[in-house]
């Protein structure tokens, strides 16, 4: 996984609450079996008008927000479907950070699996960021070592993050590899619960072992 340490980038404000993952990546793009290439379909139904042309009123389409890598949103961002295609699409489009007052649980977890940092900030500071981001280009600096975000005009705020998730992001940890370090404890749990421990030799595919 791509590590996340510090990031500086421009902010695009998306002034809507309850942005669900169906909006982030509509279902017609979930048929693909790859993990990449979803960026061009990000917010597709909002970015495109009925005739397929670009919607000039949608924030991401405005030239002043082109190249933004920090998405600023309202409450309950990422609600609904568990589709990891949502953070894949955000990351593929170029976002590294999403800032909102609250996030939906599954989306929040999925971000961390993809080197993307969701920052939960209280509503008052999110309001302030919306005001500042209304005058693009608006740049923010995020320092995950210090758990701090700041701009060039006096805004600086600490943010809270789970210590383990922070460590994994900083290191770009392979979460499966880390859990497999505890394979003996997993096997012990299975034995204690009457499950026969499976063969531990790792080969490609169970039917091919």
């Amino acid at each position: 996984m791509q590590p996340f340490t510090t990031h500086t980038g421009c902010v695009v404000p998306l002034d809507r609450a309850n942005v669900d993952t169906d909006q982030i990546i509509p279902k017609q793009f979930l048929k693909r079996i790859e993990r990449t290439g979803f960026g061009e379909f990000l917010f597709f139904d909002w970015r495109c008008l009925a005739d397929g042309s670009s919607n000039p009123d949608f924030e991401l389409n405005k030239p002043e927000y082109k190249g933004a890598s920090i998405l600023l949103a309202r409450r309950n961002f990422g609600c609904g479907s568990s589709r990891e295609h949502a953070p894949w699409a955000l990351a593929d489009y170029g976002f590294r950070v999403v800032i909102a007052p609250t996030f939906a649980d599954i989306f929040f977890s999925n971000c961390f699996q993809n080197g993307m940092l969701p920052i939960q900030l209280d509503e008052q500071h999110v309001d302030e960021l919306f005001q500042r981001a209304a005058r693009p280009p608006y740049r923010l600096h995020i320092d995950l070592h210090a758990c701090r975000l700041s701009d060039d005009a006096g805004f600086a705020q600490p943010f809270a993050i789970d210590a383990f998730r922070r460590t994994c992001l900083l290191a770009g940890t392979d979460s499966i590899g880390l859990s497999l370090e505890h394979i003996d404890q997993i096997a012990a749990w299975e034995t204690a619960h009457g499950l026969t421990a499976p063969l531990l030799d790792s080969t490609l595919g169970n039917s091919q072992r």
Binding site: K27, K31, R74, N76, C79, D105, S109, N110, S179, N206
Partner: protein
């Protein structure tokens, strides 16, 4: 010293805790992993790339449901990308030794319908699936929740998941439901009260006499929509309703009565403390209809579309105004004056046999309105066959409904079953998000009986006043 009273959640959590390494998220054992075609291909690809195998293929069950045609299964799948996704699931299941309920399998169906139906879902288990409606399985007293594809890969490789212990939330429903009021109305009512994020960070346990009186399938409808209130999981303590439902099903333990004896120890102990408690009364619930673009934007059938300016918070007002524009509704419009173009009866929320019986009872002796196109999509091959044996399918088809093969269908419209822009649909599914059933489509969530009545009448009607024939 007596043991500290524990909640159902705490009992399952502690039983499945493998370890909690210093400075890391705890590792939780996963008893059952359900897999479907849309959120798994990248996980299997990851396993292959890393040369890993599935730790417990015998605890893993797969079925294609999201992206499958609901028309004649003997015909080839027209959409090449959809076909590739389903073929990929087949190859992955074959290569990795996973039991697949394929399209031609008599037991294929929506993953959250077939899990309980086959007895794969059992009380006290931890169950995950790359789908947010996995909460459904909590109705049987399991801890069940949706995960992302990276976590699917993690579970395949380790049979565990990294999880921080969720907080517990008791949603107690006292009283009982009035005649004609369904579990769908109850859960929509609760979501309206809790908001779309009231359950975030929590596992909801539904308790109280109103919940205890629900059938097993009604409990699934309630737990299914926990995620729409933000809760990753919803659960109901197992009781005789649960045990009677499971007895005799395919995958239940051979010594069933011994298993029941263990399951009887699962319900929350008296005096167990929840992190949060909210109490409601079932008597207050009337038939519910959503008016907006999230499931908390809901009102009783006797109500009207609200004025967004009068909603509680700035977010509600902003979301409400946006929703009315998308839905093509104005505030003050009576719900019974809303006319429909389409009706969809199906989805993991409401596609089980009791749902179809309730809808068929309304339909019997009537014809679908000439202005409405209506379809019924059973949740599984078993539900379909049973409905055909009971004569329900004939009731639907003679009234003008389409009768389809099992799958998620128009709940999310990944397959060809979609709304056209501007079409208005009464749907028994779980999400009324913008574009959910098709770009520009307008979804109103209702119970199966309300959807059936809307199909006949062409507009919403109060099911409590329905003249059953």
């Amino acid at each position: 010293m007596p043991a500290t009273p524990r909640t159902l959640l705490e009992k399952i959590w502690e039983d499945h805790l493998v370890c909690a390494p210093d400075g890391q998220q705890p590792i939780l054992y996963v008893d059952r992993h359900l897999v479907h075609e849309v959120t798994s291909p990248q996980a299997f690809a990851g396993l292959r790339a890393a040369g890993r195998r599935i730790r417990r293929p015998e605890a893993t069950f797969a079925t294609p449901d999201h992206n499958v045609p609901t028309t004649d299964r003997r015909l080839p799948i027209v959409d090449a990308i959809s076909k590739q996704q389903i073929d990929t699931l087949r190859t992955n299941c074959q290569d990795f030794g996973v039991r697949l309920f394929d399209l031609d399998d008599a037991d294929q169906g929506i993953v959250h319908v077939i899990g309980p139906e086959l007895g794969i879902t059992q009380p006290g288990m931890t169950i995950v699936c790359g789908d947010s409606h996995t909460a459904t399985h909590g109705a049987l007293g399991a801890l069940a929740f949706g995960i992302g594809t990276s976590e699917v890969e993690h579970v395949l490789a380790t049979q565990t998941l990294r999880q921080s212990k969720p907080r517990s939330f008791e949603v107690r429903v006292n009283g009982s439901l009035h005649a004609g009021i369904t579990a769908k109305d109850l859960v929509l009512f609760l979501i309206g009260k809790l908001s779309t994020e009231g359950g975030t960070g929590f596992v909801i346990e539904y308790t109280g006499p109103c919940i205890r009186a629900l059938s097993m399938e009604e409990r699934m409808t309630v737990c299914n929509m926990s995620i729409e209130a933000g809760a990753r999981a919803g659960m109901i303590a197992p009781d005789s309703v649960t045990f009677d439902y499971l007895r005799g099903r395919d995958f239940v333990p051979a010594d069933f009565e011994a298993a029941v004896a263990g399951w009887k120890l699962l319900p929350s102990d008296s005096g167990a403390v929840y992190d949060r408690v909210e109490i409601f009364n079932g008597e207050q619930v009337v038939p519910q209809v959503t008016w907006g673009t999230n499931p908390a934007q809901v009102v009783g059938i006797d109500g009207a579309v609200p004025d967004p300016a009068e909603l509680a918070t700035p977010s509600d007002r902003e979301s409400g105004a946006r929703a009315l524009e998308y839905m093509g509704l104005s505030s003050g419009r009576k719900i019974v004056d809303i006319r429909l173009d389409r009706v969809f009866i199906g989805s993991c929320t409401n596609s089980r046999i009791e749902d179809l019986r309730a809808a068929a009872a309304v339909v019997r002796g009537y014809q679908v309105s000439p202005n409405v196109a209506a379809m019924v999509v059973p949740g599984s091959g078993r539900v379909k066959r049973q409905a055909e044996q009971e004569g329900l399918a004939r009731v639907f088809t003679e009234a003008g409904f389409e009768w389809r093969e099992a799958g998620c269908s128009m709940c999310l419209g990944m397959n060809p079953d979609t709304l056209a822009p501007g079409e208005r649909c009464a749907s028994t599914s779980n999400r009324n998000f913008e574009g959910r059933q098709g770009k520009g489509g307008r979804t109103h969530l209702v119970s199966p009986a309300m959807a059936a009545a809307a199909a006949i009448s062409g507009c919403f009607v109060d099911i409590r006043q329905w003249h059953y024939r």
